[in-house]
């Protein structure tokens, strides 16, 4: 589904990602872990082609099509969804109207159904976008947008940070259901070593200083708990 070949990325003339190789097949769940500032979020931004994140070398290939030069909106339309680590607030945009912008065919009944699934108070959708929402509510809102957009490749940037145990359970239950039903692929960027309790990853990648230093199965997480990232430099 998604292939990254020998990717080098620079931001403001400084190389941030070096020689990244990834191959994510259909119906696979990959986890990206690594110390703070190692380039995990940068990789997610590069995949969705954030401006000023320049690809120096290498290719990002989605379904056999190079997407290096596409704009973020076109990439989204190809089916890639990025859930942000710090979702923004936009005062002045009504939540419900915004959701209609995302998918014109979505009905109020369907939105209400998704809100019930995510335990979101439907009345809060009459507010401005993420305005006055707590950190957890903002993350739930990201998942609500995911359900509305129905992507094929989901990138979740620290979706579980700052969430209470019930919300984590709700979010991963929905993600697991979505994964089974829609047969999509998921990349999860996380620091949470308990992630394997909620989801069953196919591969775990460790990024350090802009390089993928290790790729293995979920058992590597136990080693990280014991020894940290020192063995994966």
């Amino acid at each position: 589904m998604l292939k990254i070949r020998k990717l080098y990325v620079n931001i403001k003339n400084k190389i941030i990602l070096k020689n990244i190789n990834l191959n994510i097949k259909k119906r696979e769940i990959h986890i990206l872990m690594g110390p703070n500032g190692s380039g995990k979020s940068t990789l997610s931004y590069v995949i969705t082609r954030k401006p000023n994140y320049n690809i120096v070398k290498g290719d990002i290939i989605l379904n056999n099509k190079i997407i290096n030069k596409l704009s973020p909106d076109k990439i989204s339309k190809l089916g890639i969804f990025l859930s942000f680590q710090n979702p923004i607030e936009i005062e002045g945009i009504n939540m419900l109207k915004y959701l209609k912008y995302l998918n014109n065919n979505i009905t109020y009944k369907k939105i209400k159904e998704y809100c019930n699934l995510l335990n979101i108070d439907i009345n809060k959708l009459s507010r401005f976008f993420n305005s006055g929402f707590s950190g957890g509510e903002k993350k739930k809102n990201e998942i609500l947008q995911l359900l509305i957009l129905k992507p094929k490749l989901i990138i979740l940037d620290e979706i579980d940070s700052g969430l209470d145990i019930d919300t984590i359970n709700i979010i991963f239950r929905i993600l697991n259901n979505y994964f089974l039903k829609k047969k999509c692929s998921i990349i999860i960027i996380t620091h949470n070593t308990n992630i394997v309790k909620y989801i069953n990853p196919n591969k775990v990648h460790i990024i350090n200083k802009g390089k993928i230093t290790f790729t293995g199965n979920k058992e590597v997480i136990n080693k990280i708990v014991k020894y940290g990232y020192n063995n994966y430099k």
Partner: protein, 327 residues
């Protein structure tokens, strides 16, 4: 004259239509029985007095319906004085219709006195074909005034708005929305003069400027000696979309009293690219994202749904025009 009369539109949504032809008062058309209108016409000035008969709160929509035909005398100045009586909630809107004219220079002077416990919402409007010079004076007595100054049209304009409190406990808000592109020029001056106590004044001006547009804004807050508990807030926010834009904004505070809360400021900057990227990453196109971004900024402060309904399409179209041309 008969033919001209046939062309003029009456707007049924409005309780009161005050119809002008080439800056001469033609007719006052009122369908509200709770309101009495008195009119005195001089050669130089027109006085209109709106009185509430019932002495209970009455809500009315008033349209200043200006019609211009090709024999207009551009030296005829429209001088209008409106006195709004007690307990009236009034929505005042200007509408300009041009018949057989491609361009017009228009000079208006409007003075409004608004009395106790009345509310005025004034939507200052224009037309794409009018180059205008407007002077508006608002005098308040224990009342509330909201002015929406909309300058999103193609031609240049100069506006002077003065608000003067004539008693304690007056509230007034001014929202200015300016979207300029090409070689448009706009010059606006706002004066708020307060000599009384417990008054609130809130001014917010948001501008989006592209191409070679020019703007000169001046906002003066004047609070006299020995007044108490006055609050005044003035904020200019300017978004610059081109390197050739000229912006000259001067906020002034002339405060001669100690017991006040006043602040003022100017912000200038570009689009927040993080918000645009967020919207793009959801599959919304670049043009729509930017439009949505600016609409969110402009709508954030307009709480009145009627006003929003009236202006939102105009603003949306102008923003789109402004952004597409940049491409």
């Amino acid at each position: 004259m008969y033919l001209i009369h046939n062309k003029i539109k009456y707007y049924k949504n409005f309780n009161i239509n005050i119809i002008f032809i080439n800056n001469y008062l033609k007719e006052i058309y009122c369908i509200n029985k709770e309101i009495k209108i008195e009119c005195i016409k001089n050669e130089s000035i027109i006085y209109i007095k709106i009185i509430n008969i019932k002495k209970e709160n009455v809500s009315i929509n008033l349209l200043l319906n200006y019609n211009y035909f090709n024999f207009v005398n551009i030296f005829k100045i429209n001088k209008l004085k409106i006195i709004i009586g007690k307990y009236i909630n009034i929505l005042l809107i200007e509408k300009y219709n041009l018949y057989g004219l491609n361009l017009l220079f228009n000079y208006n002077i409007i003075k409004i006195l608004i009395k106790d416990k009345s509310n005025l919402k004034y939507l200052k409007n224009k037309n794409n074909k009018i180059f205008s010079l407007n002077k508006i004076y608002i005098y308040q007595i224990r009342s509330k005034v909201d002015i929406y100054d909309l300058d999103i049209y193609d031609l240049n304009s100069i506006n002077y708005i003065t608000i003067k409190n004539l008693s304690d406990n007056c509230i007034n808000n001014i929202y200015g929305i300016y979207i300029l592109n090409n070689n448009q020029f706009l010059k606006n001056k706002f004066y708020y003069i307060n000599k009384y106590n417990n008054c609130k004044n809130y001014q917010k001006f948001i501008g989006i400027f592209n191409d070679y547009s020019k703007i000169k804004l001046k906002g003066v807050i004047f609070i006299k000696k020995r007044t108490r508990n006055n609050i005044s807030y003035q904020h200019f926010i300017n978004y610059i979309l081109s390197n050739n834009v000229y912006i000259n904004v001067k906020p002034y505070l002339n405060i001669y009293s100690n017991n006040v809360k006043c602040s003022h400021g100017v912000n200038m900057g570009k689009i927040d690219n993080n918000i645009i990227y967020y919207l793009l990453s959801r599959g919304i196109s670049k043009l729509k994202s930017k439009t949505l971004y600016f609409l969110s900024i402009l709508y954030n402060d307009i709480k009145d749904k009627n006003i929003l309904y009236l202006i939102k399409n105009k603003i949306k179209n102008k923003i789109k025009e402004c952004l597409v041309k940049k491409k």
